[in-house]
Symmetry: C2
Subunit: 99 residues, 2 copies
């Protein structure tokens, strides 16, 4: 498995719109085992994404899906900046259906 933990921040007042775009594609991405979109409770512009993929290739392939490319194009203007970006090697746990 391949994991990602990332944080980024929206422009002021744009977080909800950004979250809505991020949520469009959480279902149906081949090789995606877990994809959780979360708000930062202390930073009104910050979003945390935690992802688990079958492998790194699945994640890279997802970026070429037309629906994902379209979402990225609409999301980028709402993003003020990228924070933490950490890859991981998930060992196991709960909430990993279909792995």
């Amino acid at each position: 498995m391949y994991g990602l933990i990332g944080q980024f921040r929206s422009h002021p007042g744009q977080r909800d719109a950004l979250v809505a775009i991020l949520m469009e594609n959480v279902e149906g991405m081949p090789g995606c085992i877990s994809y959780v979109v979360a708000l930062d409770p202390k930073d009104a512009e910050a979003i945390w994404i935690t992802e688990v993929w079958k492998d790194e290739a699945s994640h890279k392939a997802s970026l070429s899906l037309p629906s994902v490319k379209d979402a990225i194009a609409r999301a980028m203007p709402l993003i003020a900046g990228f924070g933490m970006h950490q890859s991981t090697l998930p060992v196991g746990g709960t909430g990993l259906p279909g792995r």
Copy 2:
């Protein structure tokens, strides 16, 4: 929902033993929706945990489960230090069964 993203490091050579302890209780914790244990690919001692709970109370209650208390007692001597500890407010996504 209530989320946690945390990193901590084992003493040298103890990461696998620490992961094994962490994996003992990933099933059966009331209110636990997702709990993923992952290795850091660039730091041989670092572990990342990403969690999604029904609510913060469920997470706090889990720390009083006898099996969890026992695991914590055995894990602590293997931990060299705690890094990032971030709470989140998960909005949704995949890999969230039973929420």
